[in-house]
């Protein structure tokens, strides 16, 4: 291990001969050494200067070494303190170690023991520093790996993620289905101070009101038919971490009221329970709907909207950042070739060009499915135009809600008939007014190419 810097040692002992001996010994080893004849002076030195290792006698007039150790630990928690004594007892040794001493030695000690002691402490310092650097590196990379894209739009999103991760504010992530809202939520969580606690995801759109209530708040045994056991809710599970509420726009008015109350007090009761539970969590929501419009229309509570929408991150649809398509294609090829244990393949120019020109109503998720399918059915060498479902059959967007299916289907029909409303309405077997309402509802627009 290479020591990156000169180790500094503070010797605290009331005996001058001991201070001198240690001073000379450590100076010969090339350390930066300073001495203090009592605990008071040592603490005063430590207030203005940093020392990597503090070597302190236990028995000193005035404040003893153990009291000094406790004060040093309050001042600088990570300090390495080695205590020395001429009168060794198991009790003092145990107490010193309990109070955070790195080691405990009995005077006089062998020169070799002293060298070992300092070497071990130096290693510990180097490891701690190395650990800090590695941690910082890991944190900066964590979960950003899946967020592929170098377009201006994605760079803006990533900068927002980096910025918002440092705060504890509520976040609403907006964007069409398949743009990667949950990945952004994970990136925020993984780069925040809450990263060592769980991120709990709830897909609100997939649950009925009563199930969602039980899922979020938990329930007590016997609270309803089938509640055989006590169950922790997601808010409880997210204690210390982050709760991610996907498809927040789909929750009922009653649940909106409940949610607002919990967000304001961070306290709630399990379904069927009578004990208040508190939980410290950060909330991140996601939606593909325009919540502001919903507030105007009266379908989403304004107070809840403002509570949640402290920060808004909008992820642009893939069609608005086509420059990211080649990079995403390469990323998914690597991902699926690796998971299917296949040799790495490439994509031919025509196929890539076609993908770059595609509308991707299902966004990145749709592109991912296309690449996965192409690798499965392809010739194992490269992805060709005929391996892609574009133009021959409709890509199957992996969406779950009925709204998403409706939106994607209407968008595909409109695209097919060049946004001719009459022909599209006829194909959809609805009247033109209904189609206009749907276009407005889903905020559909012709692709800008």
């Amino acid at each position: 291990m290479i020591m990156a810097k000169k180790i500094s040692i503070l010797i605290v002992d009331d005996e001058e001969s001991v201070r001198d001996s240690l001073f000379n010994w450590f100076m010969e080893d090339g350390y930066r050494v300073e001495c203090a004849e009592n605990a008071k002076k040592a603490l005063s030195i430590l207030e203005s200067d940093h020392f990597d290792i503090i070597l302190a006698d236990i028995k000193m007039p005035g404040m003893d070494g153990l009291e000094m150790l406790r004060r040093i630990k309050l001042l600088k928690k990570d300090s390495i303190v080695i205590v020395m004594t001429a009168f060794a007892t198991v009790d003092t040794a145990v107490q010193a170690l309990k109070d955070g001493a790195f080691d405990y030695v009995t005077k006089p000690f062998d020169p070799d023991d002293l060298s070992h002691l300092i070497r071990n402490a130096s290693k510990q310092i180097a490891l701690s520093e190395e650990n800090e650097v590695l941690k910082a590196n890991v944190i900066s990379l964590e979960n950003v790996e899946d967020l592929v894209g170098t377009s201006q739009a994605m760079i803006k999103v990533l900068k927002q993620v980096e910025h918002v991760a440092q705060s504890d504010s509520s976040v609403i992530i907006t964007g069409e289905s398949g743009t990667g809202k949950e990945l952004i939520a994970k990136a925020i969580h993984s780069n925040s101070q809450r990263k060592f606690f769980p991120m709990v995801s709830v897909h609100c759109g997939a649950l009925t009101e009563s199930l969602l209530e039980s899922e979020l708040f938990g329930h007590e045994k016997g609270a309803f038919t089938g509640a055989m056991y006590n169950r922790k809710g997601r808010f409880e599970m997210a204690d210390g971490g982050t709760i991610f509420l996907d498809e927040i726009a789909t929750i009922s008015f009653k649940m909106q009221v409940e949610l607002l109350r919990v967000l304001e007090s961070k306290r709630f009761m399990r379904v069927g329970g009578n004990k208040e539970i508190s939980s410290d969590f950060r909330v991140i929501c996601a939606t593909n709907r325009d919540l502001k419009t919903m507030v105007r229309e009266g379908t989403f509570r304004e107070d809840l909207f403002y509570r949640l929408n402290v920060v808004n991150i909008h992820i642009p649809p893939l069609r608005e950042r086509v420059e990211d398509v080649p990079q995403l294609v390469q990323y998914f090829i690597r991902k699926y070739c690796s998971s299917m244990n296949k040799p790495l393949i490439s994509i031919d120019t025509a196929a890539l060009k076609r993908l770059e020109g595609f509308d991707f109503p299902g966004n990145v998720r749709e592109l991912e499915n296309m690449i996965e399918r192409a690798i499965v059915i392809g010739n194992g060498k490269d992805i060709r135009l005929k391996d892609l479902p574009i133009g021959t059959e409709a890509a199957e967007p992996s969406v779950e809600s009925l709204d998403d299916h409706e939106r994607i289907h209407i968008h595909q029909i409109l695209t097919k008939y060049n946004w001719n409303i009459s022909r599209s309405a006829k194909a959809l077997k609805v009247d033109r007014v209904t189609l206009y309402k749907k276009i407005k509802k889903y905020d559909l627009k012709p692709a800008s190419r």
């Binding site: 001969s17 010969e28 080893d29 005077k107 062998d110 020169p111 002293l114």
Partner: protein, 178 residues
């Protein structure tokens, strides 16, 4: 002080041949004339009855105050067991970048460790210790190069692992002293 020199002062009996060999080896490392002289000190004043050893700190201070003025560097050679208050024993010690050091023969004999007498090994170890302590007086700190005489040694086995020579880097520092 006329010409800068290094003086090795013996306190107690040392064989003449033994000392001449030490001088030869020290001469190889330090570019100054080496002189030998006998010193007269009552070592019993430094004896610690409780530890049955001799206090290296006090002895070093005494030699520094009484014998160091006449040479550039002075090294006291003794054959008694040295200690400093915090350590159970020392082979020697010196003032870093100072004028004085001390080196003891006591712990270098094989017999001390219950092994067969080996005069050559004793001499070899002592030469290394003398060169090591003199190095400290020239401002050298412990060196990480395994063969360099300035490598820290806390056991005689450590001393046997290194050479009696300074590494190129340490030698360079001594040669380029003002």
């Amino acid at each position: 002080m006329n010409q800068p020199s290094i003086t090795l002062i013996t306190f107690g009996h040392f064989e003449k041949d033994f000392l001449e060999r030490v001088v030869e080896e020290v001469q190889c490392e330090y570019p100054y004339p080496i002189r030998i002289r006998e010193g007269h000190l009552d070592l019993s004043e430094f004896h610690d009855a409780a530890r049955r050893q001799y206090n290296g700190n006090s002895l070093l201070k005494e030699i520094d105050s009484r014998f160091s003025a006449e040479s550039l560097k002075t090294l006291g050679l003794v054959s008694v067991d040295l200690f400093i208050p915090i350590l159970t024993y020392i082979f020697g010690q010196a003032y870093l970048n100072g004028r004085t050091g001390i080196a003891s023969l006591y712990r270098f004999s094989n017999e001390h460790y219950g092994m067969k007498k080996d005069e050559a090994l004793l001499l070899d170890r002592f030469i290394k210790e003398v060169n090591h302590e003199l190095g400290h007086t020239f401002g050298l700190i412990h060196c990480h190069i395994p063969t360099c005489v300035m490598r820290s040694s806390t056991y005689v086995e450590d001393i046997d692992q290194k050479s009696a020579r300074l590494c190129a880097s340490c030698r360079g520092k001594v040669r380029h002293l003002p």
